[in-house]
Symmetry: C2
Subunit: 506 residues, 2 copies
């Protein structure tokens, strides 16, 4: 059992409430994990009802007047909610969640749940048939409901703010726009420069690597990273994800493709990055108002750091490439380490976000952010999205989707009403390099350590500068504390230019 | 979606309450399934807290005065609770559950939970060390708490009645004692007669059969039985079990032993028997007061029927033996079908209940029932159990455990406070043959069908005579309806005598 902190009686009540909510949230996560991995088709209907029952119980427990009263009293008790004590922040995050949940009228919430449930079903069909028109009315309804939702949080600086804030506490649309405006021209320029060069060969990856051995190398790599198997496991799922059932059980999934050996390995490292964050939150925050993570962007900074800054680095492969060659001599015996490194870092403007390389990934996000802001501002309309999408894809990446399934319909997020989510992916990329650079300044030996298969310094630094805070600080506070600056695009741009400058001889 | 029955407004409230309770119970089942099969060790502590949180929520939801009021009003609304309408029985089973749950003072319930949690941990250790003395004080406490529990249900005919009733609604100690008293001498006589004969060879089973192929035959057999994979799955667990997450998701587990090929196959058939009962309850009883099964004995009648009456029959193997020989020629090529049949039906008095054959199994249960009744009546004392156990094992089965781990400590039940559970295993055996005989009278072709690998008639008959009722009727009502008689030992004795008479030339 963790050492228990002494709290005031009221604060203790808040802790107990948070503990129960955490339990129920983690129970939902178990149901979701099973649903995606093991549930037989016949279980779907009842599982949905079980998840609703839990959701209803959580909503009732947390939105009662009694809870509101407790939080008001605690606001008075702690005074400054932005003080750096645990107590102040426990009240701040609880108040934030309570205010958000109670501001939404139940009919609007129910309509949103029903609309997104149907929209999601239709999206699956629309994507299969590459038919945007059947999805269009659903998305129009979702945009309308998200606008109504945002209106509840007036006054705001921008109508997109309340949505963004659901995923990035405290982050403003203006901040993200500014970051992306700096990023866009430089990233476009880089992609164009790369496009003029001969791409490195990566055909050795586009083979059917034996699944069993892909799993062996994946497990080996993340074990060395420091993923704690006593508190986790790896399963196979159609779309890789990480899920937490508590500090003691943070699981990951991956998938093994028959025509792309990189997919499983890099996604395993990616998910392990998320999971090591979950495992790294201190035990005092287990079942506690400050459990969990700062934000999606901070989460993504951890996954991208292990996937890209570690997993696609020269040093990493100088250690691991011999093991990989041993497992797959039929494909790699004649591929040199340097050719392998160049191959896995090949830049290739592509239609699908989840398959994008480091150089082009953020362009996919910017496109989505522009559309989301346009929709919320009513300066864009759902019916025009396919055209807008295709035009900008051409402009940013030089390619045009052959159909909407590979264009505007590719991602699940909007069908679930998750407008405001996408920017966190790009912000996570930026944050990953920013954290990495700061760590390197303090620990210049890290690349040598990686080349020796040692990752303690990296994980230790992340534990100390990111994980240890749980959800105590907002994302920009974490970045300020850790790196001396809020999220900024310069380090990322510099990193891309240096890395690809060398690989592509720019 | 199932067709919804029209209920009175109050009845509808009861249905909604039952639906939520079913959801929460099934959620608990998902957590438990994962805990036994996939959870990493680090997840144990938080998982325990999650299950407690759910238990607390269910207790609160179901024991409120409001629920009591609703049930009282419904009792008046339906009048005779024993009427054969769904409505009457919905109220009857709800009232029964409500009365049971609210009769127990919360402090006693909490003490029972804490005691059994600690007792279970100690039992694991005691069994490992074959040291009864460390478990003794825990079991003494449990007996005391179970006695206190039973006292709450005064007046009773026998102090064991309230415990038995938790597992076998409506069943009385006197009924079970009478059944077992008829059974004991005849079963002892049979075992003694068998002991004088040369046992058939079964060494071909005590080999390391390839696990992958064991799984193939297991899946093949239960698929032919009619287990619905769209609403189920098979996993590996240390102790085989069946679990239900709703009518649409009824899962089973098995285990593959390195030195006993029979274990996985027969346990797979056994669990499939349980699961087909779960899958066979009609959809109108999904998330409903009459969801679930009549009792543990009726459940066990289904599992034992498929495992033994079907799975250990000559006809079954006349169909499946060629497939088994194909998979395992190294062990079975030279074993004739008849020798195989005799081998899997070898009778061998053994120390461990879960390994017992059909002829000796009930003796293990009778021993436990005598001890449970003795403890509850205070005519036996916990400290004397090892001696009582060993003396009666010698008397009933002619063998003496070398230590208490293989004797009185072998089963988990008592450490969890489950006194009253064991008799349901033997009652299930008796009921399985009684149902089987009735079915055979109506469908004398069944053995021929089995020999052709056809099981529709059997499953159809069970659906109609057992599964379709959910928990509407008490176990003895089901037996009366289906067979014209309450549970009686004669058919079972006759079955054993005929079967073993032939195998052993008695």
């Amino acid at each position: 059992m963790p050492e228990k902190t002494e709290y005031s009686p009221k604060m203790q009540k808040l802790v107990e409430l948070a503990a129960e909510l955490d339990d129920l949230n983690h129970i939902s996560a178990v149901l979701g994990w099973d649903q995606h991995i093991y549930m037989p088709p016949g279980g779907a209907e009842e599982r949905g009802l079980q998840l609703s029952a839990l959701g209803r119980i959580m909503h009732e427990k947390f939105t009662s007047d009694e809870v509101g009263q407790l939080i008001s009293e605690l606001v008075e008790e702690v005074g400054d909610l932005n003080a750096e004590t645990d107590e102040a922040r426990m009240v701040k995050v609880s108040k934030r969640a309570y205010d958000k949940q109670t501001k939404v009228p139940l009919p609007l919430l129910m309509e949103f749940i029903q609309t997104t449930t149907m929209a999601n079903e239709t999206w699956v069909k629309a994507k299969e048939e590459a038919n945007f028109s059947i999805f269009q009315p659903h998305l129009e309804k979702i945009v309308d409901l998200r606008q109504q939702y945002a209106e509840l949080f007036k006054p705001y600086d921008h109508i997109y703010d309340p949505l963004l804030d659901d995923f990035e506490p405290g982050m403003k649309t203006a901040e993200v726009k500014e970051i992306f405006e700096q990023l866009r021209p430089q990233q476009v320029e880089l992609i164009q420069a790369i496009a003029e060069k001969e791409p490195p060969d990566n055909s050795f990856l586009k083979q059917h690597y034996k699944e069993e051995y892909q799993e062996i190398i994946g497990r080996y790599v993340i074990t060395r990273f420091g993923y704690d198997w006593n508190r986790g496991r790896l399963d196979v799922a159609p779309h890789p994800f990480t899920t937490e059932f508590g500090l003691g059980d943070v699981r990951i999934t991956t998938r093994y493709l028959k025509d792309d050996a990189g997919s499983a390995l890099f996604s395993t490292m990616h998910e392990a990055g998320h999971a090591m964050y979950g495992q790294g939150v201190p035990k005092k925050y287990s079942r506690h108002p400050l459990s969990g993570a700062a934000s999606l962007a901070i989460h993504e900074s951890q996954s991208r750091l292990w996937e890209n800054l570690v997993g696609r680095s020269k040093e990493f492969w100088s250690f691991f490439y011999p093991s990989l060659q041993m497992l797959f001599p039929e494909y790699l015996a004649n591929i040199s380490e340097v050719d392998f490194y160049r191959g896995i870092n090949r830049v290739e403007p592509s239609l699908i976000r989840v398959e994008a390389d480091e150089a082009t990934y953020n362009m996919h996000i910017m496109l989505r952010l522009e559309i989301e802001i346009g929709l919320m501002e009513d300066t864009m309309h759902v019916k025009d999205l396919p055209e807008i999408w295709n035009t900008r894809m051409k402009e940013y990446l030089g390619i045009t989707p052959p159909d909407d399934a590979q264009g505007v319909l590719q991602d699940i997020h909007w069908s679930g009403g998750m407008i405001g989510y996408f920017p966190t992916y790009a912000l996570g990329n930026l944050a990953s390099v920013q954290l990495w650079d700061t760590m390197l300044k303090q620990h210049p030996n890290v690349p040598d350590e990686i080349a020796q298969g040692k990752f303690d310094t990296i994980l230790g630094w992340m534990r100390e500068n990111v994980h240890q805070y749980g959800s105590k600080y907002e994302p920009q506070e974490i970045m300020l504390k850790a790196t001396g600056s809020k999220i900024t695009p310069e380090p990322y741009i510099k990193y891309l230019k240096t890395k690809y400058g060398e690989i592509y001889n720019l």
